[in-house]
């Protein structure tokens, strides 16, 4: 029998969650043994996974700061996961104290934790919704209350698109979100790829298989496929590049080789 639309999904914390695994990579303890176990297995193939996450965080930080400096005061972070140090609203508000941020995740534990962390914060909220159903996000009361979609928004799709399989048509979802945004809005994307990983692909595949095992497959896309997410956007310099190469703050000498895995980019709607 089809589950009726109003019947909720259950929560099973014995199943690993990508947001809690991500937290573990970043040295956090917002995770359970199942998450750590999956993360350790993935790290057996790619010991540098935490470095990729770190680079991803660093890129996001730079991109948010860039957006705020460009005058954007609204941030929609889809796939926000477990809030940890250097959250979008902290970075954005360092530049623009009036910045408003809506976090979106479909992991109910991540959402509950975000709610706890954000309690009492003005202008920041979280929505339990799925990137695959943009209408639910855009139509949510939180988005309607906190955001003015007639003004530019920075849409953050950081380390999330590689968790949406092709049959769920992530391109259509991204296009639908784009069509809802005002001119001058920014799209911030990072995406996993075999390109740039300092390992033979078969080793990287081992890590990818771990995600397949936990029923949260990691979809590795080529640079060209990732570039297609920016359809309708003008790329901000320097375009779609490895994360450390996007407007770095410091010399590349400190960068770990793993941080060049995958791609990052920012686009601007015309």
């Amino acid at each position: 029998m089809e589950r009726p639309a109003w019947a909720p999904r259950g929560i099973d914390i014995s199943v690993p969650s990508v947001s809690r695994i991500y937290d573990y990579y970043l040295g956090g303890s917002h995770n359970f043994e199942v998450d750590r176990e999956a993360a350790r297995r993935a790290m057996e193939f790619m010991p540098g996974l935490p470095r990729i996450m770190q680079a991803n965080r660093a890129f996001m930080r730079r991109a948010v700061r860039f957006a705020a400096e460009e005058g954007v005061t609204q941030f929609l972070d889809i796939g926000s996961g477990i809030p940890t140090f250097g959250s979008v609203h902290e970075v954005a508000r360092a530049v623009r104290p009036e910045a408003r941020v809506v976090y979106v995740d479909h992991d109910p534990v991540a959402v509950a934790h975000t709610e706890a962390v954000l309690s009492g914060e003005e202008g920041v909220d979280v929505v339990a919704a799925d990137l695959r159903k943009p209408r639910e996000i855009l139509g949510s009361s939180v988005v309607r209350d906190l955001m003015d979609l007639n003004r530019p928004v920075a849409l953050l799709l950081v380390a999330i698109l590689h968790f949406v399989e092709d049959e769920d048509d992530p391109y259509a979802a991204v296009a639908e979100l784009r069509d809802a945004l005002a001119p001058g809005s920014l799209l911030v994307v990072t995406h996993a790829s075999y390109e740039g990983i300092p390992l033979p692909p078969e080793r990287a595949e081992g890590a990818v298989d771990v995600y397949k095992d936990i029923r949260n497959p990691l979809i590795m896309r080529s640079r060209d496929d990732i570039a297609r997410f920016f359809e309708g956007y003008d790329m901000v310099e320097p375009g779609l590049v490895p994360m450390p190469k996007w407007r770095p703050d410091s010399a590349a000498e400190d960068e770990d080789p793993y941080s060049y895995s995958g791609f990052a980019g920012v686009g601007r709607t015309a």
Binding site: P8, G27, D249
Partner: protein
Amino acid sequence: MTAEPDGPEDRLRRFATIWSRAVFPVTATSLTRPEFEQRLVPLARRLSEALRARTFDSAEGQAVGAALIDAHCTEPEALSRTLDCVDAYLVLYCGGDGSQEALRTRSARLQHAMAAGFARALRERTLTEQEAIARAALQAQGVVADALHATEARFRAVFEGAAIGIGIADLDGNLLQVNNALLRMFGGTEQLMRGRKVTDWTHPEDAPQVWRLYEELVRGDREHYHVEKAFYRPDGTVLWTNLTVSLLRDADGAPQYQLALMEDTTERRLLNLRLRYEATHDALTGLPNRTLFFERLDKALSAGEDMRFGLCYLDLDGFKTINDSLGHAAGDRLLVEVADRLQSCATAPGEMVARLGGDEFVALTTGPDTEREVDALADRIMNALVTPVRIDGRELTVRGSIGIVEGPAGERGPAEVLRSADITMYRAKSAGGNRYELADPEADARAITRHGLTTALPAALDRGEFFIEYQPLVRLGDGGVHGAEALVRWLHPQHGVLGPDRFIPLAEHTGLIVPLGRWVLEQSVRQAREWQDRHTGAGPVRINVNLSPCQLTHPGLVSDTVDILERAGLEPSALCLEVTESALIGADDDLLKPLRRLAEMGVDIALDDFGTGYSNLANLRRLPVSILKLDRSFTQGMQQFPADPVDLKIVEGIVSLAHSLDLSVTVEGVETGAQAEQLRILGCDTAQGWYYARPGPPDRLHELALVDATG
């Protein structure tokens, strides 16, 4: 803060740079390395100051260790590298001039304290985060649980509030749960239902497939089935339901439960039964009606080999008279009594009695032995009618005529059988009534049924099967031909010439009388005109045409008549329309208006069959009639010699009355010269009858008129 080259500040910063380079690769911070280094500078300063403080305080080391955790250096490797770095460079860059040994001791103690502070802070942070995520998980589960609870509450509300009965049973038929609607349907309590087995719910009226479908479902061979099923309620009454049973499978697809949805159809069924009863039974007598009779007859006639049927078709003799003289209420009571008696005649299985309508009844017997049984049935019916029926203190003798048809099933259809029975019944009636006759195929073939004639009527008019005969009307004063009455005949292709009494009532009934009447009027008027043309000088020839009650009320009567007269070129005074007395009984002004208009134009109106009904003499004054036609019954008494003096007196009186009202009198049925003479003496004006001429073709009248004119 500016740093003097190789001054203490510069050396402190160099220490921080070395430290940050060592640790940065193993931190999780999103800061850049220079930013991270900036965060380490104050920590380095604290270490430096603690190293050189007058009173050594290892708590500073603990604080710095804890601060590493705040800077997201949660990896143990970060501590290890930090301690390596402090051990190797703190005294070197920040020791100043103090005793190297004391400084090294202090450095070592600081390292111990840093390790402890790091460990404590890491433990705190780990515990806090673990607690936070656990709480978040719990909260999320709570949200889900609440939602599940709401879902379940909604389902329960649906289950309990549903108007249809819902029951869940396991595959062995043990009832697990039922809702209120189902309890209400059964009129039982939950206790009564719990522990019951579905398989106990058999009912004698279960269709054969009900339990086969059930077995298929619990075996998993069928997903659902839908049946109409009866149940016994605990109080013994019967519950009828529309029952849908579905198989519920578990997540792996294995059959798990059966779900029954039932709708109480008891009342609807009763209503249907009642509607069916009403549709198949005669409201007056309660007997099965024509519909049900034909269903049964159909079944009997399509029964298998060796099965036969016997049918008695009964029509009461003289029922119309009873109805007319005692009224419909009495007639109805008579029918009810007859129905009851007939009912008691056919009580064996396979026998039935039905009322077809009016005073027509049928009794049907079926089975292998109807040859013998049907005669016995007819005898019983005749016997049942022997005892007079008592109504309103009167003893009414009831007689009936029965037509019997008997034969094997499978040869004839119901219509044919009933036609044969009808014909046979009429044969019994024409033989005097109060008897039964057996059907005879030859007699059937000869018989003319009303039904057959009725259906043939419209085509007959189109095909020109009707023709008109004319009977002369003679002036009693001088014996001259005064005119003629037009009498319509039907030349039926099978039955030959039929008189108006055979088909006019049928034409009245179907409405064909209107076109037929118009045709007769047209023909007659044209004929009259022709006579006048050919017969000038012998006085005007008048034409009498009969009008049926149906034509009287037809809105086109006046205009049609005028039109016909004008087209033929006949003056209105040459036409006489005959209307029966009974058609005008109780006629109101609306009905009389067309006649009055015709009379004003000069058309004569004759009151036909005068004296047969309840003649209301007072009524005569307000009718637009100018002629009375005395019924033949008055003249019958004058056929013998001497004439019946009472009849003479009556006719004399009527003539006198008529003349005083300015009406002329025509007499019908004059058959002898004596009659003619008598009527002349009594003052009658015109006469018609076989004495003068039988109805015949128009040329005969022409001849008569010629004779009259020349004679």
